[in-house]
């Protein structure tokens, strides 16, 4: 077994050698002996700690300043172009973002969770991306399904809105929901019937609220992914939501993911906000 540190050491050596234009043949023989468990995940490198500039004028200061920014710096070059490893990492991060946007939340995931699934007026992902107006609305049939299956006029209605990241929903929505529900219970507040809106945008929370008329609506929405993470979830909360409320009436908690606010912590935080909104009977910029 080769330890992770040892592999890192090997990689660093190789990179240094690549910088000087030589590739050790030694590596090729070594590589063949690495077992699956020892293969380094090339998407897991902490870019802040990685400095690829050979013989830099001030390595210590470089690394120290790199700690202050997630920007892809100190990445060196092949002629004027990118090094192969940084180019691959960039493509990998973009692939992850695109997968989050263009793939849908799996039906199994919703089934296993055991919540109701409905859809916005968008019939597929393509229409969802090009018709934001339809992603905000639901049709009459969907309204009927909600009326039949959900608690009418609940104090708090939680909806899971697919938004622009299916990954965010699959990775972070359920834990956030459970923690939020627990938090509300702690305050003696029972939520309504939760459901999932496929191909929904943020304002779809208004359309469903007009049907079910909760006092407070909480929407957990997949955020448009950046390259840093494709798992970021946002939460939008509104008092007496309807299609006529302004954007400024929404209270927002964003960046719910492992490297931002972790889902369990976020759920508890959202519960506290909901309690405040119920007390003050307002949300968004008017909430104190």
């Amino acid at each position: 077994m080769i330890s992770e540190d040892r592999i890192k050491g090997i990689i660093e050596n190789v990179l240094r050698e690549m910088g000087s234009g030589e590739i050790s043949t030694d590596l090729r023989t070594r590589e063949a002996t690495v077992s699956d468990d020892d293969i380094v995940d090339f998407g897991a490198t902490d870019l802040r700690k990685q400095l690829l500039v050979p013989n830099s004028a001030n390595e210590e200061a470089y690394l120290k300043l790199k700690e202050t920014t997630p920007a892809r710096l100190g990445i060196w070059r092949a002629g004027p172009r990118y090094m192969t490893q940084t180019q691959l990492r960039f493509r990998a991060d973009h692939a992850s973002a695109q997968d989050a946007v263009f793939n849908s939340v799996s039906e199994e995931f919703i089934k296993e969770w055991g919540i109701l699934e409905v859809s916005s007026k968008c019939k597929d992902k393509d229409e969802f991306l090009t018709r934001p107006d339809l992603g905000r609305q639901i049709n009459d049939e969907t309204a009927e399904i909600l009326r039949k299956n959900c608690v009418n006029k609940p104090k708090v209605q939680i909806v899971i809105v697919e938004g622009l990241s299916s990954t965010a929903i699959e990775v972070n929505a359920r834990d956030t929901f459970e923690s939020l529900t627990q938090g509300l219970k702690g305050h003696g507040i029972e939520g309504g019937t939760p459901f999932f809106i496929r191909n929904g945008r943020v304002p779809s929370m208004d359309s469903v609220s007009e049907v079910l008329q909760p006092e407070v609506t909480v929407a957990l929405v997949g955020e448009r992914p950046g390259l840093a993470t494709s798992e970021s979830l946002s939460c939008y909360i509104a008092y007496k939501a309807s299609t006529s409320i302004p954007e400024s009436a929404r209270t927002v908690v964003s960046n719910i993911h492992q490297m931002g606010t972790p889902s369990v912590e976020a759920g508890a935080h959202i519960a506290d906000i909901v309690v405040k909104i119920l007390e003050q009977k307002t949300s968004g910029i008017d909430l104190k």
Binding site: S56, Y62, L65, T68, L73, T86, A100, T130, A228
Partner: protein
């Protein structure tokens, strides 16, 4: 005006000039979203044929948004040189296109013409241009502007250095700035998009830029791209800025949504001329992008290309140093995929040049668009060939603050070397002095930000 045509046995009729203009556009998802696009490619072609026979006078007399209703229309119409207009007004759009492309027509002719035309004419002729027409036409038009250095000279390709940071951390911004400089970026402007749009953080970054510029004697411009009113407050309180920035739209209503109007921009320009730190006379920096009017419901039923052209007509009034379209930033509901973004980038650049402004492009895309880094590398090569004044540059093309991707620091030397372009002259001399350049190319030390932190 003839508003109908026959093609392969089918008669096509259009409601009015705006309808012809919208349907003559190359396909854009934003025009579909607005419900004004041609239903078929045949209808689009028919609209182009109708448009090709419209005269420039018809376009002058039928502005996209009425004169009485819209400040942007008034600024464009009132800015027309009537003598030059009279020479051009009987051209049909087809003839205007062929005149632009003719070997007989020089760049100087085109610059002169730009003073006698309206944005609707610029948009109309663009709709009849193929992609290579747009590249060829733009490549004839040299537009220079001067702030501390002159941008837009022949054979020069400049870059904005965009060292954005998720929390405006000055150390993080500084490292990104140094690394960009070490690749030869930053001759157009050192320009940050701030997270916090308030006077103090904006002033802090402006001061930091100024100090670095002074310390290393960098011949360039500085700017922090907050809202124009925030920058004005910062400058009034003594913050050093070479350029003042604002995003603008092609209608008065669109500008209202951005929190500005013509008099605010005039005030900003006057303030810069009085209290800015630059030589001038070009002290303004504007950004635009197809679709922003529709997104703020300020498009008046007009297509996104025409609205974009009007942004440039509006910008021209303020004699900007630089203007760039942020072409792929707005998302797939306006520009669906790489094909549409590449087309829009070429259109915008050509329109800016034909309007007579110093035009750059933020060749970019978001993660919910069907585009990737290869597509904007393609676009940047096409635009360099077209004579684009400048591009953006960010670490590895990944903007950690705005969450989109555009041209990276590495594109700076790559595009210059591949297409034989140079940095702005004074900046190139500085790069040689700093040892970043050697004999007109990156030196062995280039790419090491820490040469600035010894």
């Amino acid at each position: 005006m003839r508003l109908k045509t026959k093609l392969f046995g089918t008669l096509y009729e259009f409601k009015d000039l705006n309808d012809v203009m919208a349907k003559a556009n190359e396909e854009k998802s934003g025009d579909k979203l607005a419900g004004i696009a041609a239903a078929t490619v045949s209808e689009m072609t028919a609209a182009k044929e109708v448009l090709s026979n419209i005269t420039l006078a018809d376009l002058r007399n039928n502005p996209a948004v009425p004169y009485e209703d819209d400040e942007v229309t008034r600024i464009i119409q009132d800015g027309v040189n009537e003598k030059i207009y009279n020479e051009l007004k009987n051209f049909t759009v087809a003839e205007f296109r062929e005149w632009i492309l003719s070997h007989e027509t020089t760049g100087a002719d085109l610059r002169r013409a730009s003073r006698g035309i309206t944005s609707e004419m610029v948009a109309a002729v663009t709709k009849l241009m193929s992609n290579l027409d747009l590249i060829y036409g733009a490549s004839k038009i040299k537009i220079t502007a001067h702030c501390n250095t002159t941008i837009g000279e022949d054979g020069v390709l400049a870059f904005r250095l965009q060292p954005n940071h998720t929390t405006d951390d000055v150390d993080g911004i500084r490292l990104s700035l140094f690394e960009g400089l070490s690749y030869g970026a930053g001759d157009a402007v050192l320009g940050l998009n701030p997270v916090y749009d308030t006077v103090e953080p904006v002033s802090n970054v402006l001061r930091m830029f100024h100090e670095i510029k002074e310390k290393f004697e960098i011949p360039t411009q500085t700017c922090v791209l907050a809202h124009v009113t925030t920058q004005m407050d910062a400058i009034k309180q003594g913050a050093p800025a070479d350029l003042i920035f604002q995003s603008i739209a092609g209608s008065e209503k669109g500008n209202t949504a951005f929190g500005l109007n013509a008099s605010v921009l005039s005030e900003a320009r006057d303030l810069m001329l009085k209290e800015g730190t630059c030589e001038g006379p070009n002290v303004m920096y504007f950004e635009t992008g197809q679709g922003s009017e529709l997104s703020s419901e300020a498009h008046h039923g007009v297509d996104q290309l025409t609205m974009e052209a009007r942004c440039y007509g509006f910008a021209k009034k303020y004699k900007p140093y630089i203007v760039n379209t942020v072409v792929g930033f707005i998302g797939p509901e306006y520009l669906y995929d790489s094909k549409q973004v590449i087309r829009a980038g070429l259109e915008d650049h050509f329109m800016g040049k034909l309007t007579g402004i110093s035009m750059g492009v933020d060749a970019c895309y978001t993660n919910h668009m069907k585009a990737d880094q290869n597509d904007i590398e393609n676009l940047s090569v096409l635009l360099t060939a077209a004579g684009c004044n400048y591009f953006m540059s960010i670490p590895h093309g990944d903007d950690i603050m705005l969450n989109y991707q555009c041209t990276g620091y590495h594109e700076v030397p790559s595009l210059r070397e591949t297409l034989n372009r140079k940095p702005i002259r004074e900046f190139e001399i500085w790069l040689e002095k700093m040892g970043i350049y050697e004999n007109g190319k990156l030196s062995k030390r280039a790419g090491d930000a820490s040469i600035f932190i010894k």
